[in-house]
Assembly symmetry: C2
Homo-oligomer: 347 residues x 2
């Protein structure tokens, strides 16, 4: 614990994700082990299940049973799974790990909430329970896309399908602040996704958003095209969540598609099969960089709190990285910066 | 010339594309050579320039000077280039190859129009001059995307950015007829691009389009996601042109992105550089399948005529394929089929 501030506590949805609680508990214990007591973790879920999973850590190869003063277990007997409809589940499962964990954050008992669970449920619950940052109409989920240089934040990645121009502006502000803070860069380059570089190109919402962005004070690169994302020239790319989600899932399917094509190539001749054998390793390494999940979660931006959402298939390493990301967001006061920027932008 | 029908004439915009007239003339002459007199070609452009380009064919290695009865040259002195704004160019350059060629099609002097020129100008001119098929609100441009199986037609690929549900239905009908006719398959599988498979997922326009598509009589697979495109399970994927264009350009940038990553891998160590040398060929071959341009042009569907639009960088081979595609569209009476299907769908 530092002497300047009270110790940070990060709430972890221990029941979130396809491999919960095992992967979640393992990742969180790893984070506690590596952080050397910088923060505490509060696990949310059915107490007996979690205690058992925590005990398992001591006996796992490579497991780290954390010291008792670094964690707590908060009993939340209900589980919202991946198939639950978000709004219905929030009403019927009031004692879920998602609901209880976020209420703890609202009440100031924890400082962040990390979940690899049902994304829609976390989004709805966080917006409802934590509320929105003043000036934000639509909280947003961004996604980091690998590029030729640093990853690019695609925002919105699916939280908001129909967007008004003002929402696109908000995404740009939130994305810019987040990327600037997390990558320590002064002026992230923001592009507005469109169908051509000229100011005349776009749909109704993007054309109006372009005008708002031109006078926003952000480092705005204007309209950008689909082909500009991978170039690495942009730190933030803004679009509605319908386009963003489709694009993201399309991109995620590239490695598998190439693998299929590569296998067909290998089967075509004996020479090809030998070449493919040698090439396989190279290709796998290159592909690994396209595995968006490794990065470990993305922030839900625009709510009054820190929420990190991970992929359902999150590995312990991904969970660990989500916890570190939450810690960093707290320390860098990303939400305070967003609020300040909004005041300037809408002034 | 066959005895059953008068010979087909295909109009070629000889000034369309970055390598016009050389690539266009070379590709068209190749098509005439290979087709053995099945159709004629009418070249549109400045007469002197075209005559010179045609003379060059005789002396080019691999060139084929066509016999005089298989082609004609129609003088169109003005050129609409890639940087011209479509509507302005159509007003100020009334004697452009695009305008004169399409007027010839409207007047029944030619049966199709093929261009690798300014896409927006061809789209506007064709809609204006040829008119729309009855029942079609918005003519559309599709794009063929390579998949694990047969290519998938993504429609709309950028012609219509803001779409009403009825427009999305029209794209589905036109895409289904086109793919069915060109690939000789009875019932192309059509998917509606969305952010989840459930009927509840989508934006305002897609949710309403889903209902129209469910009762359209098409072989409709429901909502599909970005990751489903490469799978090859769908023959036609429908979306608005904003999303479609962004997706298409994103996909087109994958090969270059992978090349960059691959080069970085090769530079990392001596072993890597040797592996990369062997792998290069395999990767290039796999990538070639992702080169959307090779296929040679896409149809503008929904106008009263046959129009094939190609990439500005079209090779002679691409131009040749565009001409063959136009011939096939005429022979298969794609427009008649579209009209019939529309009558059923809206009945």
């Amino acid at each position: 614990m530092t002497s300047q501030a009270r110790q940070i506590t990060i709430a972890v949805d221990a029941m979130g994700g396809d491999y919960a609680p095992a992967n979640v508990v393992a990742g969180a214990c790893q984070a506690l082990h590596e952080s050397g007591g910088r923060f505490r973790v509060a696990f949310f879920g059915p107490e007996d299940t979690l205690r058992a999973a925590l005990r398992d850590q001591a006996t796992q190869p490579g497991g780290h049973a954390p010291s008792e003063d670094l964690y707590s277990v908060v009993h939340a007997p209900e589980v919202i799974d991946m198939h639950d409809l978000p709004t219905a589940a929030l009403k019927t499962k009031r004692r879920s790990s998602i609901s209880v964990g976020l209420h703890h954050q609202r009440d100031g008992l924890v400082d962040a909430f990390v979940s690899a669970g049902n994304t829609g449920a976390v989004l709805s619950a966080a917006t409802l329970i934590l509320g929105r940052i003043r000036g934000i109409g639509r909280p947003t989920i961004g996604a980091l896309i690998p590029t030729a240089k640093a990853p690019c934040l695609l925002v919105d990645a699916g939280a908001n399908v129909d967007c008004r121009p003002q929402h696109l502006l908000e995404f740009a502000v939130m994305g810019s602040i987040y990327v600037g803070a997390m990558r320590n860069i002064p002026d992230p380059r923001v592009g507005l996704l469109s169908i051509g570089e000229e100011d005349s190109k776009g749909n109704e919402a993007s054309l109006a958003a372009l005008k708002l962005l031109r006078k926003s004070g952000l480092h705005f690169a204007g309209n950008v095209e689909g082909r500009d994302i991978f170039s690495g020239e942009l730190d933030v790319v803004v679009c509605d969540g319908f386009t963003g989600n489709i694009l993201l899932k399309f991109g995620e399917s590239v490695p598998h598609f190439l693998k299929t094509k590569f296998q067909a190539f290998a089967k075509a001749s004996l020479t090809n099969s030998v070449v493919a054998l040698v090439a396989k390793n190279a290709l796998r390494r290159v592909m690994k960089e396209m595995d968006y999940q490794e990065a470990g979660g993305v922030p839900l931006l625009g709510v009054n709190g820190v929420v990190i959402i991970g992929h359902g298939k999150s590995s312990p390493k991904a969970i660990k990285n989500m916890i570190f990301r939450a810690e960093e967001m707290i320390q860098k006061a990303v939400n305070v910066q967003i609020q300040e920027m909004l005041t300037q932008t809408n002034a």
